[in-house]
């Protein structure tokens, strides 16, 4: 039980995917302009990441390892993730049009989010069991959503702030991201002892 709690804290704060491992930077920069879209993206990513980690684990353990095909992991995981995203989109479209509209374009975009593939591959690397894999994916996604929402809220304020001319636009955004990353690196102090 303690191990699972540690996995969650580790992925959400200490080894945050975006700010410490630098995975999934594209949506982090691209979709964080508004708080609402950031939340939508975070929600969709959480759902897909958890599900794809589970599916990737199953594929790995019941298909790739028994056949000795570990070297095909990357391509097999990409395939599984793409299928999961597509399937999720269809099901959501049918069952909940409201949610489908809220997630909108972000759902298919997640296919190309490297954090999703990264989580699946790191699961294998760290030799997680089934529950740990699912929790690892879920924690990574919660960390991603947390950082997205924080960053989007900051960007909304920066837009109306009086920024020096040379720092306006992408420059101040990148600097903010860098400072946030520094702050999150500080969480590695949690692990000591």
């Amino acid at each position: 039980m303690k191990e699972y709690a540690l996995i969650l804290i580790s992925t959400i704060l200490v080894n945050n995917y975006v700010l410490v491992k630098f995975l999934g930077l594209c949506p982090f920069m691209g979709v964080s302009r508004k708080l609402e879209t950031a939340m939508g993206m975070g929600l969709a990513t959480t759902f897909v990441l958890t599900l794809s980690c589970i599916c990737a684990y199953l594929t790995d353990h019941y298909l790739l390892i028994p056949l000795g095909l570990e070297y095909l992991r990357t391509i097999a995981f990409i395939l599984v993730i793409a299928v999961v995203v597509q399937f999720t989109e269809m099901v959501v479209h049918k069952t909940s049009p409201v949610l489908y509209q809220a997630l909108g374009i972000y759902l298919p975009l997640i296919t190309t989010n490297c954090a999703v593939l990264g989580a699946a591959l790191l699961n294998v690397q760290e030799r997680h069991d089934f529950i740990a894999s699912a929790l690892y994916g879920f924690g990574a996604a919660v960390g991603f959503s947390l950082v997205m929402v924080l960053f989007a809220a900051m960007r909304e304020r920066i837009v109306v702030a009086d920024v020096p001319v040379h720092f306006r636009g992408p420059a101040i955004t990148l600097i903010t991201a860098g400072l946030m990353s520094l702050a999150f690196m500080g969480f590695s102090g949690l692990v000591r002892g």
Binding site: L69, L79, M90
Partner: protein, 183 residues
């Protein structure tokens, strides 16, 4: 090697089957009434109804947000056809959005055209050919007669000419709708 190919092939095949099944099982029907309404509208894309084109207007009608009598190019026949499709009373054409006119096409007076491209940008159906500082002309077969190009022209060289009824342009009027409108 062969095992790898078969394993990946099987995985891909299974995924394909799953997605194919999902596509059928979770099929989402588009709103069919929108397409039926759009088929009745004249496709001039003129925007006189207050919507961005025929499809948005069809969607607004289907959603109950718009009246069915806002389309001047469709004329009384069009309103009657819409009322027939939707099972409503036939309202008179709403004069506020424009009067019914005979079918027309835009013609550019090529002597006066200065090649400003403003009419090209205004045309919703890309029926105007030309380039900056070169003479423009209207492809008569593509022109829907929406008049959107008339106002932007800075030298007023575009005018609308009614299409003369020839053997190739003459069409039967919609008989059912016309009869019902008269009744």
């Amino acid at each position: 090697m062969m095992i790898a190919i078969f394993a990946l092939g099987a995985l891909a095949g299974a995924s394909g089957l799953l997605l194919g099944f999902a596509a059928i099982r979770f099929k989402v029907e588009g709103d069919p009434i929108v397409e039926k309404i759009e088929a009745v509208l004249p496709q001039t894309q003129c925007g006189q109804c207050g919507y961005a084109g025929c499809k948005p207007y069809a969607e607004a009608i289907a959603a109950g947000e718009a009246e069915i009598n806002l389309c001047p190019p469709g004329g009384a026949n069009g309103v009657a056809a819409l009322a027939d499709l939707l099972g409503r009373e036939i309202p008179p054409l709403n004069g506020g959005t424009g009067a019914e006119k005979p079918k027309m096409v835009a013609v550019i007076d090529e002597q006066s055209c200065i090649g400003c491209t403003l009419c090209i940008q205004a045309c919703p159906v890309d029926a105007i050919l030309g380039a900056a500082k070169h003479m423009h002309t209207v492809i008569a077969r593509e022109c829907t007669g929406c008049e959107l190009c008339v106002a932007p022209c800075p030298v007023d060289c575009i005018h609308m000419t009614p299409i003369a009824e020839t053997i190739t342009t003459w069409k039967w009027a919609y008989p059912g709708a016309a009869v019902r409108a008269a009744a």
